[in-house]
Amino acid sequence: MICPKEGRYFLQGNIAVGEAAIRSGAMFFAGYPITPSSEIAEHASIHLPIAGGTFIQMEDEISSLAAVIGASMTGVKAYTATSGPGMSLMSEHIGLACMVEAPCVIINVQRAGPSTGLATKPAQGDFFQFRYGTHGDHMIIALSPASVQECFDLTIQAFNFAERFRCPVFLALDGIIGKMYETVNIPKRNEIKVVNRKKAIASKVDYQPYQPDEHLVPPFVPFGSPLITRANGSGHGIDGYPCDDAKNHEQLVRRLINKIDRYKKEISLFKEYYTHDAEVLIVSYGCSTRPAIAAMKEARKRGIKVGILQLQTLWPFPEELIASITSKAKLILVPELSLGQLKSEIIKYCHQKPVIGINKLGGVSIQPEDILTVLFREIEK
């Protein structure tokens, strides 16, 4: 590892993700190089074999996620990293991971799209792709860091959620956060809370691969175990054999969603800055948080009560949090490196309060002045 011990290190966001992945116990990476995420693959290629794990560069992102899912079903923690075009190629297998209930972490260091777009430039245009990136009703978890420290912390969290809920978890980075260098505090190994998937304890007669526990998650059995297990991406019964019965499908898909939805509150991670008295609330995530903080400080100096809600969990969307925190605000600002994806989600839950987007394309970061200009214009109205 680049950081063999606890302590303070000066790291790139992408590297912090890699360092955290290994500390989470990840032992398998399959991926395909793409800017601005490639450092994560390069890091895995160097450090996974030393840690006893396996790195492979696959022929594309379709096979990368397929291999990650296969590896995960042997009981190994597995991850991949990509950016927009690769995320699009992974679409079908996001659903496969949901359906076979393969814990895995998918890192998307967002860049400007659509298509090849601006290959080296940051963006936040995949907000909805995280949530709806595969066909059919389903649910995933997506976390988004706004600093290199959060890259580290939320990677640990992403693996923990993946293990606990047996589902794909996305890390929504962006070209700014992934490529940025900052000081990171790396805790002692034994101070990092690492969750491992619950193992099934059953007799050969009783064992059913998709029999959920009280939290709606089926306890896990790895390939190679004397308990024979089945992973099935087609509609299946609790025995893992195909089943196209209408009622069974309804139950299965509802369970896959509810196992996450039911624990939405616990999954919902966020930070607040001066929200207690805020009349203007900025809601941000990832890179747009940083100009928001600078703008807030400047506005407060001028006596304008601005606060920030920084979402670390993007999905499942924290509806109740948005509803309660916006209830006191008079104005809501949403800076985003997209044309307003997060904004459209906030509008649904914020009691018809005015919501103004500060939106930028072109792969250049939002500046504090961009936010302040809109702020001053709006409060003068």
Binding site: F28, E59, I62, A66, G70, S72, M73, T74, F223, R230
Partner: protein, 272 residues
């Protein structure tokens, strides 16, 4: 060796979902017998399937199974094998699955010599979706999407996999079930490297019907008449070879598989 293969077969799920006369049942029987012949333990086997008629094979297996997406069985199998090299990983793919939508994974797995066994049921069309053409459909033949005769040429899959670098490549047909078992068994015994068995099969329901061969008996007879073993190739005039199905071992080489190489790499970088 006489084996029933029963311990790998989920008898409660029988009869097979496949049409009567379909070649898949023959391949399935040969596969389970070869497993038994080599004394494989159910818990050590993972059978990975794609989507298609042959992709339903896992429904009848009592081993570990992974039923995934169309074309990607080999990629899933790669992850399984590399994450737990002790497992015996089989990928069961159709010609649509294995060389058409998933062709890229096939050639790369062969090049890397990923230590898995791939068994391709090549019935020259997409059985599951109603008999459309695939990457192995012969020139001029009729399918649901080539009503006027197919304009493209077909892949010679075994030659392709051989040239991609696989350690073991063999072709056989369902007209000779014993040979299927023998070749799979040999692939199992080789233990490492990428091993590919192409089984030329039949789909009487679609490909047969479209090409004026509606009975399985007739199709199997046609297969055996057109089959030539590599060993006998000298006895056939070159102009007659076009229509023949070449069977036998296309490649049988000692190779170092990916797993072994990667393990060596790991050892070489261990801090001393």
């Amino acid at each position: 060796m006489k084996c029933s293969g029963r311990k790998y077969i989920k008898t409660e799920s029988l009869p097979f979902f496949w049409c009567s006369g379909c070649g898949n049942g023959i391949i399935f029987a040969a596969l389970t017998r070869a497993m038994e012949e080599n004394n494989l333990d159910n818990k050590d086997i993972v059978a990975v399937t794609g989507i298609g008629c042959w992709g339903k094979a896992d429904d009848y297996l009592t081993t570990h199974t992974f039923h995934g997406t169309h074309g990607r069985a080999i990629a899933v199998a790669t992850g399984i094998k590399l994450a737990n090299p002790l497992l015996k990983v089989f990928a069961l793919v159709g010609d649509g699955d294995g060389i058409t939508i998933g062709g890229n994974h096939l050639i790369h797995a062969a090049r890397r010599n990923i230590d898995i066994i791939v068994i391709m049921s090549n019935n020259f069309n997409y059985g599951m979706t109603g008999g459309q053409y695939s990457g192995t459909t012969p020139f001029n033949s009729i399918t649901a999407t080539s009503s006027y005769g197919h304009v493209e040429d077909a892949f010679d899959v075994s030659s392709l996999v051989k040239s991609a670098g696989a350690g073991y490549v063999a072709r056989c047909t369902i007209a000779n079930p014993h040979m299927i078992q023998q070749l799979i068994s040999k692939a199992i015994k080789k233990r490492q490297g990428f091993r590919f068995i192409e089984v030329i099969s039949i789909c009487p329901t679609h490909y047969g019907k479209y090409n004026q061969m509606s009975s399985a008996v007739e199709m199997i007879k046609d297969l055996s008449e057109r089959t030539v073993n590599f060993k006998d190739i000298d006895q056939i005039a070159p102009e007659d070879l076009g229509n023949k199905i070449m069977v036998g071992e296309y490649q049988n080489q000692e190779v170092e598989g990916f797993v072994h190489r990667y393990q060596r790499l790991k050892q070489s970088i261990l801090p001393t």
